[in-house]
Symmetry: C2
Subunit: 232 residues, 2 copies
DNA sequence: GTTGTTAGTTGCATCACACCACTAACTATA
DNA sequence: TATAGTTAGTGGTGTGATGCAACTAACAAC
């Protein structure tokens, strides 16, 4: 820390400025039980002890190469998962944002993931974690800090991406049918989509390709299986 | 500073984490001489002394209520202007981002402004400031730090907004004709627009309204003057 | 075989927009 | 006074993306 201050002192103003307490917050979303849900952790300590909050962690300048790496480390430590499709959402910060420090900044990242890939028993510092339907998380005073607002932003940004069909996202399994893909999009958007338009738009964008000969066989007519197209 | 560290120590981990050197950078754009331009300041000190860079400043947790207020203060101090339509663009940060500190974060804000409103002689710490055409700023090694990339991002985001006709922006004067508005949009987008489509789209969105009886009289046929519609 | 359900396709209406052509209003100049 | 030149403003038409609806196909269950 001494070293840090020395460096900062070299700034043109030749003053020492205290720096904000800087954290990462993660908005990890998934479709669970036909509901768009968000991953929440139960707070064990003050402030907001007992309330649910987004998982997050401190930016460690001794460990992380950059902000994205911070977010990946936090995901690994707190959730024990890799987050391949992490997107930076915003930075929020100010006085009285976090009672633990006089001034705090949070860099917020969002991602979609597959709930099935998530193993809530691993990882260090894993207090209670749960998938919470976003509708529930939007209830007043359910969440700590301003996390309700952050989730609302993340949901809006995600819906906008899905509206524009900016696949692929982390929520896609290896293989899937068009019906499954459409249902997942409908749940995330919160509204129904037209089958024929959806299919037309999907293959115009050429983001996925059929797996020749592979079909999903279930109760009714078999469906063609698809996978993500290799990025060009 | 002692106080800050004490507070941070109250964190659950009971450790002192050094925090990143946190700054604000401003990407202020305007149309100058029929060119989309960006406001740059000449660096007087190391690092990158003599090179041009985005104006910016340190986040002052003793002065600023939040990040937006930081950005406003930096704009006031370095540029002596208010920036009514400031939008947060991104946060970038990591090791070796800024030689003045081992780990630095910049919160980047962008805005459009009217060059005419800008008075480059006022303000404290005003080293040389100039409007630089973005094409010029995109030349290799012209700018300090990663500011070339930040400007490219800001231009892209701004163009996307104008594409969607998300007016009003800070670049609009009190009164303007549709022709002037279209020309400004064309310069910012870097391409021509169709007159009739532009007008139809503008009045579908109902963002501006004619000023009854007010016309711009010049060399040719008089043109209706418009102003921004009061926000609802 | 009949029914029910999902898979997958096709045709048509609609809407937003680009492209093009036109009229209107003014100045400048002959 | 007439004509040319320039910008302001409007209207028509084709096209492409999408929503809507109807259709066929393929399977399981009965």
């Amino acid at each position: 820390m001494i070293n840090v201050m020395k460096k900062i002192t070299q700034n043109s103003d030749a003053k020492i400025y205290p720096m904000p307490f800087t954290r990462i917050e993660l908005v990890v979303m998934s479709v669970v039980n036909d509901c768009l849900s968000v991953l929440l952790g139960k707070r064990e300590q003050a402030p907001y002890a007992g309330l649910w909050a987004l998982p997050g962690g401190v930016v460690r300048i001794d460990l992380d190469a950059n902000l994205e790496a911070s977010a990946q480390r936090v995901a690994q430590e707190r959730l024990a998962i890799q987050m391949p499709y992490l997107r930076q959402q915003c930075a929020v910060g100010g006085v009285s944002r976090d009672p633990r420090a006089p001034w705090a900044v949070s860099i917020v990242y969002r991602a979609l993931s597959r709930a099935e890939e998530f193993n809530p028993t691993a990882g260090k510092r894993l207090d209670a974690l749960r998938w919470c339907p976003v509708d529930e998380a939007m209830a007043d005073n359910y969440l700590a800090f301003d996390h309700q607002q952050l989730i609302a932003q993340a949901v809006a940004a995600t819906r906008s991406e899905i509206d524009r069909l900016e696949l692929p996202f982390g929520f896609l399994p290896e293989q899937f049918t068009l019906g499954e893909l459409q249902t997942a999009c409908e749940i995330m958007l919160g509204r129904r989509l037209d089958k024929s338009s959806f299919r037309r738009r999907i293959d115009e964008r050429a983001l996925i390709e059929p797996i020749e000969g592979e079909m999903r066989i279930g109760s009714f007519r078999p469906a063609q299986l698809f996978c993500q197209k290799a990025q060009t």
